[in-house]
Amino acid sequence: MNQINKTLNIALPKGRIGDKVYDIFVSAGYGCAGYDGSDRCLVVENRDAGVKYLWVKPADVPVYVERGAADLGVAGKDILLEEAPDTFELLDLGVGVCRLMIAAPRGFRDDTGRTLRVATKYPRIASEYYASLCRDIDIIKLNGSIELAPLTGLSDVILDIVETGTTLRENGLETLDLVFNVSARLIANKAAYRFKNDAITALCGAIKASLAR
């Protein structure tokens, strides 16, 4: 049986947060010369540093890591809470900072005599959050423009990511409760952590040092 080599495969989320995360890896000494993020290649490698980056859809990062196609990955805490992958969560990278919040039209008062209708991209988080409050809810799973749901009568409240709150305000909504603080986290495959421990520990150390600077 072939032994896998010790290159670290790292799944990064495509998009704005992914670019910020890649910059952290570059500062830690794990960049790839000639790669500036402007091309469309999905795999880039720095053989000397022993890293290979796989650019994937943000929600797919936990899948790549849990199933071992990537040894490490960077995913938002919102995605990790929703997908609950069986992985290690090694570092909080401190980028992509936002909040998972409950929001509703201004002046909304919860009528506990009725089932609360909650529109969200995160059905699992919504279900667990309201279960912890013993509140009966009806989850409406949406894939985008969540703010529209209470405005059209589709839902009473929404559970969504809030960065600055501008979109909410512009749509006549206000935040009610904080569910979780979100930021990008470095996650690791549990088997890879055992067999590539030296490389993973070195990379984590370099990233921590880079974040502390």
Partner: protein
């Protein structure tokens, strides 16, 4: 060997050529041979049992449900999601020490697959008045099972101790939801999560430091045990570390050759598992292939007074032996440092 010769050999039933076996079949035979050599007898199960039996102990096998159907007489039956429960149900203290192995398929819900999966398992259970030698033997068999699972494959057996974690939690008065959160953070090696709990006032500085030490202490027993010993302040926790130390030392004498490590991210249900727990990994297979531990709590719940330890190996995961492909992903930009 030609096909004709192979066929003849099988017909003669003298030897079966190993080159016709799939990796999981080879592993199953190699493991069975290990277990028989150590005096374990086969335990054979039916494919289904009464649903009520599994419903009562469903936390033990931590699954999202059980596949059920109605029998002719209207009884609700379930395709078995677990083997250990049936072995324990059959155990009687009057029989003395029970040492059995099994090779069975079980049916469990897989969140990842979004449905039920048939899982091929082999493993051992040792139930009775357990001596330290019995416990060491089971862990040695776990280590040996990993060593014969795939030819030339590196492996790692990680040990933890639920009795130790329970004792430390008691010492630090970590209870209820906080205990559950602490176990989740330990299981995820989530150091920043521990720090966050401390910052928001959920845990004390002592709890934070102990959890942080348990998360960062990982590796060979000789380096980990002294560090863990320093965290223990009660007879219960000290005796758990001593047990861990004795077992690791016995395994080292048997030649574990650096494959053994202590890792407190290996977590099992505290209600059932009270002693050593273990998880085994094979290099290139992305999830644990072996899991098990000491589960006296289950026997107690079933009204039986005895100790019990065992493990199961996921043979279906051994299908994934062509592990070189993931590193053949074509990199467009093969470069040196940037």
């Amino acid at each position: 060997m030609t096909l004709k010769n192979e066929t003849e050999t099988i017909k003669n039933a003298k030897t079966i050529p190993t080159n016709i076996l799939y990796p999981e079949e080879k592993a199953a035979l190699a493991m069975r041979s290990l277990y028989i050599e150590r005096g374990y007898r086969r335990f054979k199960l039916g494919t289904f049992e009464d649903y009520d039996f599994y419903a009562k102990y469903k936390e033990f096998f931590a699954t999202g449900g059980v596949l059920t159907f109605n029998g002719n007489d209207g009884r609700l039956l379930a395709l078995k999601p677990d083997v250990t429960l049936s072995v324990v149900k059959n155990y009687s203290h009057d029989d003395g020490l029970l040492k059995v192995y099994y090779a069975e398929n079980i049916f469990r819900y897989s969140r990842r697959a979004g449905g039920f999966r048939e899982i091929q398992q082999t493993g051992v259970e040792c139930i009775g008045d357990l001596s330290p030698a019995d416990i060491s033997e089971v862990i040695m068999l776990a280590e040996a099972s990993l060593s014969v699972a795939l030819d030339g494959c590196n492996y790692s057996l990680c040990l933890s101790h639920m009795g130790l974690l329970t004792a430390l939690f008691d010492e630090l008065a970590i209870k209820g939801d906080v205990a559950q959160t602490a176990l989740t953070l330990l299981g995820g090696k989530n150091l920043h999560g521990v720090e966050e709990l401390y910052k928001n006032g959920t845990i004390s500085v002592e709890v934070r430091d102990t959890l942080a030490a348990l998360i960062t202490t990982f590796g060979p027993p000789t380096s980990v045990i002294p560090k863990v010993m320093a965290l223990c302040h009660s007879e219960a926790s000290l005796s758990a570390v001593r047990e861990l130390e004795e077992i690791c030392s016995a395994l080292d004498k048997d030649g574990s050759n650096g494959h053994l490590s202590i890792d407190f991210s290996v977590i099992s249900d505290m209600n059932y598992y009270n002693g050593i727990v273990m998880r085994g990994y094979l290099d290139g297979i992305p999830e644990g292939v072996l899991s098990g531990g000491r589960y006296d709590g289950l026997l107690e719940r079933m009204g039986k007074r005895a100790g019990a330890i065992g493990f199961a190996v996921r043979l279906d995961l051994l299908e994934r032996t062509d592990i070189s492909s993931k590193n053949n992903t074509h990199a467009v930009n093969n470069s040196a440092g940037g």
